[in-house]
Amino acid sequence: MVRPIAGAAQMLERARHFFSSLPDIVITTAVWLVFAALIIWAVTSEAQLVVIGIIVGSILALGAIGLTLIYGIMKFANFAHGDTMMLGAYIAFFFLTGQVARDATEDVELPWSLGSLPGALEPIGKLTFGYGLIISTVVAALVIALLVVGLDRLVYRPLRQRGSGIVVFAVASLGLAMATRALMLIIWGPDPRLYVSGIHMADKYDLGFTTITLKADQIFMFAVAVVLTALVYLLLFRTKLGKAMRAVTDNPDLARVSGIDTERVFTWTWVIGGALVAVAGVLLALQAQLNPNLGFVLLLPLFASTILGGIGSPQGALVGAMIVGISQEVSVGINLSIAGTDILPLAPAYKFSVAVVIMIFMLLLRPQGLFGAKA
């Protein structure tokens, strides 16, 4: 058994050698061209799906930026990130409505919640929600930020002090992911929930070559994502903390001997990552629904975005999330057929698998990602 495997391994070695001997610019350009071609094709033929993809991508970007910062600065894959995202959405739901599940069919409602503020549920303009949800989101972001910092103190810091490897952190985060999901199920039950129920009308927009329909909520999601991404950019490149964070990403040991308090940087990374992912969770729940089982599924597009953009690179995560979001949504419209026979109708169930496929191709071609430096 060993011989054919060794033979195959050798063959792979040659293939890999061929790829790594190509100038970096060739592969990067090729990858970019493929994505650009796909997106141009998609924009012209599936404009509606592309627009939804951009919105999903901007939500994913908020999660992926946090994930890539944690990955780059603390050097571990946080498998609890998807579930933290969903927990953020649920905490906002809790502050908005005060509801928790009593049993499978019935809810308990607390006597007071942010939703009972005067006019808190009145829709703002064409949006479906009122200012209550916005305040709840801010509160949820704070709660999640505190929670992840607490978990860092309780779980990750002792592991760090012991000098554990990346894998120990990853297994610990997997345990936390499991616990977080279970906690959501205990408190809010397994049935999907919505912030605002009812049917919401979408507006038609004429783009010249085609018309698209878009809800006001979706424009709001995109705007929030853009503003928060810009804030993260300013934080990273215009503040001293951002400089320290980038230094730790590049070389933690060097940063430490240069007098940077790495523990403080770690804490702020959790705060930023936690707050961003909580907001992302609320936006995602607005676009889709609140569902405790969604958290783990979300990990795949989040990690795909992170790897695509290059670990530790927030601008990479943004671009990666856009590519993953658009590919996911457009994949639903793909129906390859030859001579009238469908050969590859991609079912919606494969949506999340698109992220996996993109990720594997990226790992094969350029494991350091689009924006990562070559080792």
């Binding site: 060794a6 498998f79 894998v167 997997l174 499991m178 594997i360 990562g372």
Partner: protein
Amino acid sequence: MKADRLLTPLSFLAITAAIIIMPAERSGWNFDSVISFLTAFATTVAIFAVITLGLNVQWGYTGVFNFGIAGFFMVGAYTAAIFTKPPAESEFVRYIGGFGDSLAFLPFLDSGQWLPFVFGTAAAALMSGALAFALSIPTLRLRADYLAITTIGIAELLRAVVLEERGLVNSARGLIGIPRPFHDFFEPDDYKFVYFGIAVLVLIIVFLALEKGIRSPWGRVLRALREDELTTAASGKNVFAFKMQGFIVGAMIMGIGGSIYAYERGSISPDTFTPFFGTFIFWAMLMVGGSGNNKGAILGAYIVWGIWTISLQLQGYDLPEFVRSRIFFIRDLLIGSLIVIVLLLRPAGLLPEERKISLFIGRDTGPRPREPTTEPEPTDKPPSG
């Protein structure tokens, strides 16, 4: 220190006491029903212990980081099922394969009663191993966590394929009526003991083969590259090939585990192979038992499945409604927290890894100086260029 040494036997005894007393009390101290409950419990433990042993080869010995056990488990179970079932006939039940009866004509000892199962298990191991081979190509050379992310993705992708492609393995409805080895030779009431014997036999074979393998030079190379890839490479070992072998052997064992799971249940559906049930509990089993120790893997399977079973049993008691309706979620919370607690308080698990592994020199079972899960210092760039 003394309390520390008592933890392993105490946790074993506590779980054992609970899984004997709870069903005994609920059945009114009926001996037969307790025995049949324990047999079912032990059969499942044996099956899951096989899969945990597979994970132990990958993670405990080779340091390969597989978060997609569900995928290998599922491939094993489905392969075994389509190998042993008769071909699909109905319009509403569609699946590929169905080779169950094609070997029955062979003249030894009513071959239809056992031969297809041997082939089914072998095919399950091969398919699972082939999947591992294909996956190792893009990821095994990169940082360990990339493999973890990719395996999660592949496991979910495979589950999506199984759910979506109706002609493949009957999608969401799953496969039912999977034949069982030697089923027609025994009374239905006695069969569970027979299958318990089969599961334990498979577990013993896998365990002995692994003990032999890990105490061989091959096993020592795996351990060496888990601890330090660079040094192993400098000693002239082909790190990539050995890692691949460890990954594939582990995946094949998971495939075998999947096949005996399919025979035992008689029906499988994609619901079983979710990340939670198909992957996490095996990690919990290995972390609790002690990664890098085959006996630990088996003990971990026993304890975690014991907790699982106790939570099922608790449903029969008069609990407050709040707890009763959430017992499964509380169990999940418990198992998730258990992983974290073990990592923090007892990183080596209940049965720590043996320091020396050799067929010739005496065994030294003292505690290891370092925690077994220590990886080489991570670098920020993947070691690819």
